[in-house]
Amino acid sequence: MKGKVLIGLTLGIALSVLSLPLVAHHGNAAYDPTKQINLKGTVTQFIWANPHCVVLFDVAGENGQVVHWMAETENPTTMTNMGWLKSSLKPGDPISIRVITVKNGKPIGRIVYVETASGQRLPGRIVPTDDSGKSAESYK
């Protein structure tokens, strides 16, 4: 009987492991598209890669705590056509960034746009809205 329980336990664990997420690319179900927020921070890393480029940046939070944010946009091919370069952002760069955020409350966003210290605006693929939710700038 002990052997059967052990086999069952092993099988159960194996099934549990197999049911864990294997891939997580390209879904937009994780995001709330209706809410855009502005953040100011400092770039810690810029990943220029498929399937999506990712900007990692630190934002000063409440009580002096630093919040480690990350924000994704599209793939390098698409972003190149929109004026981005692999060298567009580098660690230490101060940025202003507008994002939509994930529903689970984690500091993760999808880029509406990034503004560099020189004033260059690097557009993401999300159409900017004002705080009332109305489209402030149309890409039509």
Binding site: V5, A24, H25, G27, N28, Y31, A49, N104, G105, I126
Partner: protein
Amino acid sequence: MLRRSLPLTVVLAVTLLVPLARSQDSSPANSPAPLNERRPPNWLENRRDGWGRPVKLPVKGEKSPPAPKRDLSGIWDPGDGGIQALGPAAMPDDGRPEHNPPFTAAGLEALKETKPSNGFRSTLATESNDPVIAGDPQGMPREDLFELRTVNILQTPVAIYLMYQFGRVWRVIWTDGREVPKDAEPRWFGYSLGKWVDDYTFVVETTGLDERTWIDHAGRPHSDKLRVEETFHRLDRDHLELSVLIDDPKFYTKPWIALNKLVFNLEPQTFDVREMFWEPSEFQTYNKLLGNEAAGEDEK
């Protein structure tokens, strides 16, 4: 006895209940609103080829000369219209009844097995069973219906070769009058035969397709009876149209149009096509860093 069985019961309960709990978030009723993604107005000014060189803007108002006869060769760019993240441009999976393909009962059953990461039925990305994300080839017709980027077309007296930017894959369309082999082994890209129906219109029929592929990024399935008909129509020297018809009597009650006259622009001959892959190593990095976190448990 009860004490002995407890670990097994707990593990099995967790195993069964976790996916069920996750599926609550991923039902069509909770499908995400569109992200409203578009290009900014000045994007054309920023275009560069794979060599990093700026690409000249088309001259406004300048009329293209006629196309050469029976010639598709060139480097062709469909712009954003080829990405088709929600499914085929003419039949996106956006929840509108008119965009539901005419499924048979068998087709609907097969549809239940696919879990796309985009479209009206999209699951949380962690739950998708998209074969392309797992590393399988897109195959046909999905090569035309998802991430259709720049296509370099080369023509010989006996065949036309299409070289796709996404994944750097190529396929051959034979024009030498051959027939599809009997008892053909199914292939990711099937067996393509093409013919000119007039000087500017080239029709391709593809059969013998591997059933493991999805028709599109929205997870529409197909059977071994799928026949794909592509119509390439050269409008003039600088413009090419592509339409795609899906004909699969096992899964669809009638043929349906997936792509309707998508226009490609001719790039200069010196245009270097940028590499574009879904590299497994970069996928792993992305998923580990952000993808799994974004789709993960609630922190609120």
